[in-house]
């Protein structure tokens, strides 16, 4: 197998796993107030998830090497997801508390 490519895949996997474990640490840091809504935790969770998704799409799914159109479409979807999740979170929270 192509050594360079294989190394790259393994590195990507390590990075993704590290981020996931970091999320575990992050969440256990603020464990005592797990029962209060926390916009920072929520937005970082969503943003980190989208970064991970983008790495999977770019690297594992090889969109990095794909025609520009496909890169744009996947990015467009990620942007849409980010905006609608964060948007509905903040707007919804503002409406329900305000």
């Amino acid at each position: 197998m192509n050594r360079r490519f294989e190394k790259r895949l393994s590195f990507v996997w390590l990075a993704l796993s590290a981020i996931t474990l970091a999320q575990l640490a992050l969440a256990s840091l603020g464990e005592q107030d797990a029962l209060t809504p926390n916009a920072a935790v929520t937005s970082s969770a969503i943003v980190i998830a989208l970064i991970k998704v983008r790495v999977v799409i770019r690297e594992f799914m090889e969109v990095r090497y794909a025609p520009v159109l496909l890169c744009r479409l996947t990015d467009l979807w990620m942007a849409l997801t980010g905006v609608s999740l964060l948007g509905s979170y903040f707007v919804g929270m503002a409406l329900s508390t305000g």
Binding site: M1, N2, F5, E6, L9, S10, V12, W13, L16, S17, T20, L21, Q23, L24, A27, S28, A34, L35, T36, P37, N38, V41, T42, A45, I46, I48, A49, L50, K52, V53, V56, I57, E59, F60, M61, E62, V63, Y65, A66, P67, V68, L69, L70, L73, T74, W77, L80, T81, S84, L85, S88, Y89, V91, G92, M93, L95, S96
Partner: protein
């Protein structure tokens, strides 16, 4: 638009070899059938809409959702994520090996993918069993309705993923078949399940 199609390798035959040459020359290509990407993007939109409905409902009663969420074990979610990431890594290696013609390595990686997919299934079933034992069912409250709905629809995608991996194994096993395009198409499907889970994990286990 035409760039997608013109670089698209047709299954088997001289076209595919041409595709491999293009790759070697660094020409941009769509991994697998471009058709599978229609599924990925369409299904991704459907999931985005499920997620959005979930977040909106959640903001309507944040306390209820947080209290119920506290009954989930974050470590299980992290374990699930890691397992699916390994399986994604294995299937990416499988594609790469098949591309280079080392089919036994490709086959081993495909089996590895299945193994980790199976570990995910088992851990999910165990997690559901624990929740149900503690008295948290599909109709317990709104959070658990969403929890079971999102994990179950993802589970269903994963079950279909085993059929898809079966196709990949079937292609790799016989020298008479070995359509690189189909192997890549199957891998694309599997990665899609992986990144859906990454989002579900963030929304069900981490978000506050």
């Amino acid at each position: 638009m035409t760039t997608v199609a013109s670089a698209e390798p047709r299954a088997g035959g001289p076209d595919e070899r041409a595709g491999a040459q293009e790759r070697a020359r660094g020409v941009r290509f769509v991994p697998g059938q471009p058709d599978m990407w229609v599924f990925v993007l369409f299904e991704a939109l459907v999931f985005t809409s499920y997620f959005t409905v979930y977040v909106i409902r959640r903001t309507q009663s944040p306390d209820l959702f947080l209290q119920s969420q506290a009954h989930l074990d974050l470590r299980v979610g992290v374990f699930n994520t890691l397992v699916l990431l390994v399986s994604s890594w294995a299937v990416a290696r499988c594609v790469q090996a098949a591309r280079e013609g080392s089919f036994s390595a490709a086959l081993n990686n495909a089996y590895l993918t299945m193994l980790f997919g199976f570990v995910f299934l088992v851990s999910k079933v165990l997690e559901w069993a624990t929740e149900i034992e503690q008295g948290f069912g599909f109709t317990t409250d709104e959070f658990f309705s969403f929890y079971y709905f999102l994990t179950a629809i993802h589970f269903l995608h994963l079950l279909i993923g085993f059929v898809v991996l079966g196709v990949a194994v079937y292609e790799i096993r016989s020298p008479a078949r070995r359509s690189q395009e189909l192997v890549e198409t199957c891998a694309t499907y599997w990665h899609t399940i992986d990144f859906f889970w990454v989002l579900i994990f963030a929304l069900l286990y981490v978000m506050r």
